[in-house]
């Protein structure tokens, strides 16, 4: 088993159009580094020097990782990670 990562439309040019890709790692940071080896440039679109980019939201099993541990959030096989751009409501 692996960790499923759902990719938003705007980043699918980096995954050959795939809506979801598999990766591995013990933390979100390691997972993104692993994904970057097969989908070059993906990590840079999600992370900058200060951590997760401002308008990028990442959810681990539907919970916002900013409330879990940010890039240091632990992940495991069978988890589902969803990446989405920040949008307005109201």
């Amino acid at each position: 088993m692996a960790i499923e990562v759902r990719i938003p439309t705007i980043l699918r040019n980096l995954t050959d159009g795939a809506k979801a890709v598999d990766g591995k790692g013990g933390t979100l940071d390691e997972l993104f580094a692993d994904l970057d080896t097969r989908h070059a440039g993906l990590r840079d679109r999600l992370v900058d020097a200060k951590g997760l980019r401002k308008f990028v939201n990442v959810y681990l099993n539907d919970e916002d990782v900013r409330f879990l541990g940010g890039l240091e959030t632990e992940v495991a096989d069978g988890d589902s990670v969803t990446i989405l751009p920040a949008v307005a409501g109201g």
């Binding site: 308008f55 879990l68 751009p85 307005a88």
Partner: protein, 315 residues
């Protein structure tokens, strides 16, 4: 209960227990019925507070035109207040919102400017900011950054909940402008030790997230992450499932975003049961289901309803 006018009847909404959906014992769910406001949604509170503040500050004077980007409820509330107070109103609304919202806005006299479906409310905000620049005499109340939005909940919704349920442990609401969560959250945090403030963010179909650069996202100026305990992304299917459960189990006919909040509330209830802790979990019923009948959310299978909602802004 008697009031001098419709606006005077704002707030004071019922808090009702959910005996069937609550896990039982020491873990209970409570619904704050915000559909029992003058135009049928929680947005009547911020709309009234924002207009009052703008009047006090001298920004709004008789005959003025109000401008607001809105996916519906805030616009409907503002249109009602504007009609009663003698203002014109222009609402910028994404074209992928329900037909009922448009009809209601027009009924209360609003002029609607449509913004592109792709990009959702981000686009409505962008279009409204453009209109504001072109029409300097229009007054944009701007719910995403107007402190009166959160203040309405700090001064009314929060105190009502604490008065009705002093044992409250969790507050769960949908995340849109963030006004409800910021206002009620701050109020409860000041008075209830260890209270959990939980956001349920709608996860729409792909169209809504648009194709623009990821650096052009939008975070409401009101949003302060430190007020929240955590934040969940709730997919359309889960929101629909819970909206129907609420109707079938408890008889409450709510809009789809309420299903999203209930989903997060039930998640917190399950956690409390597992941890063996007591919990009184309040969630917000932001509006009734009436405005969403045409979306097909309440008929057929869940999957059919989900397919019909694809690309729609349901919160």
């Amino acid at each position: 209960m008697r009031f001098d006018s419709l606006l005077d009847s704002l707030g004071g909404t019922p808090l009702v227990g959910l005996p069937r959906l609550s896990p039982g014992g020491d873990v209970r769910l409570w619904a704050k019925l915000e559909d029992r406001n003058p135009t049928g949604s929680v947005k009547d509170r911020p709309a009234f507070f924002m207009v009052e503040k703008a009047e006090k500050e001298g920004l709004l004077t008789p005959g003025c035109t109000i401008l607001e980007p809105t996916s519906g409820n805030t616009g409907i509330s503002l249109a009602m207040v504007a009609k009663l107070r003698g203002y014109r109103i222009v609402c910028v609304m994404p074209e992928n919102t329900s037909a009922e919202r448009r009809q209601l806005l027009e009924m209360w006299g609003a002029r609607i400017v449509s913004s592109p479906a792709a990009g959702g409310s981000n686009e409505a905000v962008r279009v409204a900011k453009g209109l504001a620049a072109e029409n300097p005499d229009w007054v944009m109340l701007y719910q995403y950054g107007n402190e009166a939005n959160a203040l309405a909940h700090y001064e009314t919704t929060g105190p009502e909940i604490l008065a009705d349920l002093p044992s409250v442990t969790h507050f769960v609401a949908g995340l849109g402008t963030t006004g409800t969560l910021m206002g009620v959250g701050r109020f409860l945090r000041e008075r209830v030790p260890d209270v959990k403030i939980v956001a349920a963010e709608p996860r729409y179909g792909e169209l809504v997230y648009g194709l623009r650069n990821i650096d052009e996202g939008f975070i409401p100026e009101l949003y302060d992450e430190s007020v929240l305990t955590t934040r969940f992304s709730v997919a359309s299917l889960e929101a629909l499932r819970r909206t129907r459960e609420l109707l079938e189990q408890e008889g409450i006919f709510a809009g789809i975003s309420t299903g999203g909040a209930l989903h997060a509330a039930i998640g917190m209830a399950d956690k409390a049961v597992k941890a063996g802790e007591r919990a009184d979990i309040v969630f917000v019923v932001a509006d009734g289901g009436w405005k969403y009948l045409s979306t097909g959310a309440y008929g057929g299978t869940l999957e059919e309803a989900e397919a019909r909602l694809e690309g729609q802004l349901w919160a």
